[in-house]
């Protein structure tokens, strides 16, 4: 085990909640609504969490077999030395790629909506540096930092939702399932990218204080996220109508711009930045941490800290080279990413679990 930190079940719930919610509330709604129309709230809540619970079940089952190791650590034990290492290396790449996407999302929003003249690279570096510092200090610090930020994050989100819902027109949520269940399922496909991030539990499992409560925490997280995501979708479509939500890049930002209470409480869009920065740094730190651990496991390093700077630099470069503008980012998020993420977060872990069950591999008692 490369990180000596420990955190509790509640911290796990908060960590997973912020990790998923951080980018989902801003980037997911437009894509979900594009497919699911007014029924997006079903896609984002029930269907996505149903998928999420599969991920949690697989991941916790794996974790219970290897309670003191991270996912990439026990792959060689399950699959044999060489295939295990190769898969661990692939996972390191997977995490680094996802971190780069998250980093790019973070700078894209601020660049498009606020600091139009600041080069995204600068925004990338600032955010990445903050997250990297968290990774340097270890998972325990990230978990505690997320618990401190969480109230600010959640209350700001709640504030905007409450003020936004005043304008809700229930007619906008009709008709219900106009084109049958298929569009709703496709909408849920977009949501799975974010809900599937519960897979990080596989990388965080060894650091849990109360490992028996992992399953419960996972499900509590999925339930809360389903409520939050469903409310956000219902609020956005209810206020704006599905056509408007579809054409906008950041519908939630648009909601914050639209809020006006008695002509005094206005121009709240800056609150979105508070939510955004608070969430993204936590999310990025968790992903960086997993990237570093996976890389260190693959290379058999004694400390994961040496990998921080190369990985952060790599994510900044990938973010700038592969997704220079949101014209590259948004199509990627809504088209190839859902199956890609599902492969890494559900399919492969499920196969690994299957092999572990068949070969009856579990952690030996003394280690």
């Amino acid at each position: 085990m490369l990180d000596k930190g420990r955190f509790s079940s509640i911290q796990l719930v908060i960590l997973l909640l912020m990790t998923e919610g951080a980018t989902a509330f801003l980037f997911a709604p437009a894509g979900i609504t594009k497919f699911a129309g007014p029924d997006g709230w079903i896609s984002a809540s029930i269907l996505a969490s149903a998928y999420g619970s599969l991920v949690v079940l697989v991941v916790v089952a794996l974790g219970n077999r290897f309670p003191s190791q991270a996912f990439t650590e026990y792959l060689p034990a399950v699959l044999g030395k060489i295939p295990g290492k190769i898969l661990a290396a692939l996972y390191a790449g997977f995490f680094i790629h996802l971190s780069a996407i998250i980093l790019n999302e973070s700078s894209t929003f601020v660049h498009v909506a606020f600091l139009r003249e600041t080069p995204p690279t600068v925004l990338d570096i600032v955010t990445a540096a903050a997250a990297a510092y968290g990774v340097y200090l270890g998972i325990e610090v990230i978990a505690r930092q997320s618990s401190i930020v969480f109230p600010v994050w959640a209350l700001s989100l709640l504030l905007l939702l409450i003020l936004g819902i005043i304008e809700l027109n229930p007619n906008n949520l009709r008709p219900f399932m106009e084109n049958g269940p298929l569009p709703v399922l496709r909408g849920a496909g977009i949501s799975t990218v974010f809900r599937g991030e519960a897979f990080l539990l596989a990388m965080l499992f060894p650091y849990l204080n109360q490992k028996r409560e992992a399953l419960k925490s996972g499900f509590v997280n999925l339930g809360v996220v389903a409520i939050i995501a469903g409310t956000i979708m219902a609020a956005l479509v209810g206020v704006f109508g599905d056509s408007f939500v579809t054409i906008k890049l950041f519908p939630f930002f648009e909601l914050a711009r639209y809020i006006s209470v008695a002509r005094i409480v206005e121009r709240l869009e800056i609150v979105v930045v508070i939510i955004w920065v608070a969430g993204v740094i936590v999310k990025l730190a968790v992903f960086y941490h997993s990237s570093c651990i996976a890389t260190a496991n693959t290379l058999g390093l004694k400390s994961y800290r040496v990998t921080i700077i190369p990985i952060v630099a790599a994510t900044v470069i990938i973010s700038e080279m592969v997704y220079p503008t949101h014209a590259q980012l948004i199509p990627f998020l809504f088209k190839p990413l859902p199956p890609y993420a599902a492969t890494g977060e559900l399919l492969v872990p499920a196969l690994v679990l299957l092999i572990a069950v068949i070969r009856n591999k579990r952690e030996s008692r003394q280690s």
Binding site: A113, E117, P175, F240, G241, S243, I247, E254, R267
Partner: protein, 416 residues
């Protein structure tokens, strides 16, 4: 020891860097470099044979930081003329026009405080999709900015003198804000609602219609010193008022609803929550006022093949605060009598609005949208030729207004 000192040194350097970065963003725009637009007008016209976009900007100019200090914070020093400054710029596209602004002005134009968007009639009739598209991409212009269409050009409309507020844009915005609660005679929509109406299938936009006029009060012989002679209205400053709504089909203006018709429209969309409905107890004169306090409409489509009928059920509450002497007492049948007349009048206005909309072939009521929301199966069948079906829809209106309050008096004044 030396390690600790290095650590302190690095921390100090970091603190300085972070503090330096915390003072501002990449670029800065100082307030004394800005010209703040409070209203933007869009026109289209031919200049030297080529079509141009004419942009009219109504500005307030923040006073330079040095000079304004002595005036104190109290009233906000008026450096500009009372109506603000109106600047007209032209270009091949909207953004071209905005950039051409810099050929003429030393201030950076700032749209963050735009209250009103005025669209000239010509532009509206030729299509406003470019305007909406442009505004949709703007981060400074807010989705709650009011939108009006002006008779004549927007350039002239923004030159009009406000009568109550310091700036024309403020006055237009306040008038539209008060509309729902006090008169309910104009569509009064903001930028988001215009976009919503244009984006939603089976729904067209109706936008308030702004008209210039020379205030009659200013032409009164009493004001003119008794010499109210020829050409008095020439050279008189013009003011403006809201006169019903402009009706769009797609992004093109196709006609207008007058004030009564606009009220009919607001009744159907449940937005009429104020305003008075005059009725006549002793025809032919209208002599009694029913003042609306709230109303709500339920619209139900009845579809048989391609024949669509809408059952509109309007319920509302209001007060009586004016009547011809001696007609209405505190008796229940008196109340009923007024209610009957009011119901008739509301029904008349709704039918007039529907007839006008059908004539213009523009579904401003969102009837198509309503079918979509409540009967998605039927909508799929008729949506492709909804534009042809809409002019043939039938409407059945049922109005039930309740008279609730007749003021602090029981019996009417009986002239003896």
């Amino acid at each position: 020891m030396i390690y600790k000192k290095i650590k302190i040194a690095i921390s100090l350097i970091m603190v300085i860097i972070i503090l330096a970065g915390a003072t501002g963003c990449w670029n800065r725009r100082e307030i004394q470099d800005l010209a703040v637009a409070t209203a933007v007008g869009f026109d289209r016209s031919m200049i030297n044979g080529s079509p141009r976009v004419i942009l009219t900007v109504l500005l307030t100019r923040p006073s330079p930081a040095g000079g304004g200090g002595s005036r104190g914070g109290g009233g906000g020093g008026p450096t500009a003329s009372p109506t603000g400054t109106v600047i007209t710029i032209e270009g091949e596209t909207i953004n071209d026009a905005i950039r051409n602004w810099f050929l003429r002005s030393s201030r950076i134009i700032f749209f963050g405080h735009t209250l009103v968007i005025v669209i000239g009639e010509d532009m509206a009739r030729q299509g406003i999709d470019q305007v909406v598209e442009f505004l949709n991409r703007q981060l400074d212009v807010r989705p709650r900015t009011w939108v009006v269409v002006s008779k004549g050009t927007a350039r002239d409309a923004l030159q009009a003198l406000p009568e109550f507020e310091p700036v024309t844009s403020q006055e237009i915005a306040r008038i539209l804000e008060l509309d729902h609660d006090w008169v309910s005679k104009s569509a009064a929509v903001n930028l988001f609602q215009v976009m919503y109406d244009m984006l939603t299938p089976g729904r067209e936009a109706a936008v308030s219609w702004l008209k210039l006029f020379v205030p009659r009060e200013k032409m009164s012989p009493a004001r003119m010193g008794g010499a109210g002679s020829t050409g008095a209205s020439q050279g008189q400053p013009k003011s403006f008022y809201i006169d019903g709504s402009a009706v769009f089909r797609g992004d093109r203006m196709v006609g207008r609803l007058d004030k009564a018709e606009s009220q009919g429209l607001l009744f159907v969309t449940s937005k009429a929550v104020g305003g008075s409905i005059p009725v006549s107890l002793k025809p032919p004169q209208k002599d009694t006022s029913f003042v609306l306090r709230t109303s709500k409409a339920k619209v139900k489509p009845v579809i048989k093949g391609n024949r669509v009928t809408f059952e509109i059920d309007i319920r509302g509450i209001g007060d009586l605060n004016e009547q011809r002497a001696g007609e209405i007492g505190t008796l229940e049948q008196d109340f009923k009598k007024v209610e009957r007349l009011v119901n008739k009048e509301v029904e008349k206005r709704v039918l007039k609005a529907v007839a006008k909309a059908k004539e213009l072939r523009s579904d401003v009521f969102g009837f198509g949208d309503l079918i979509h929301r409540s009967r998605p199966g039927e909508w799929k069948r008729i949506k492709s030729n909804w534009e042809k079906i809409f002019p043939t829809v039938q409407v059945r209106v049922k109005v039930k207004m309740t008279l609730e309050n007749i003021g602090p008096t029981g019996e009417p004044i009986k002239i003896q």
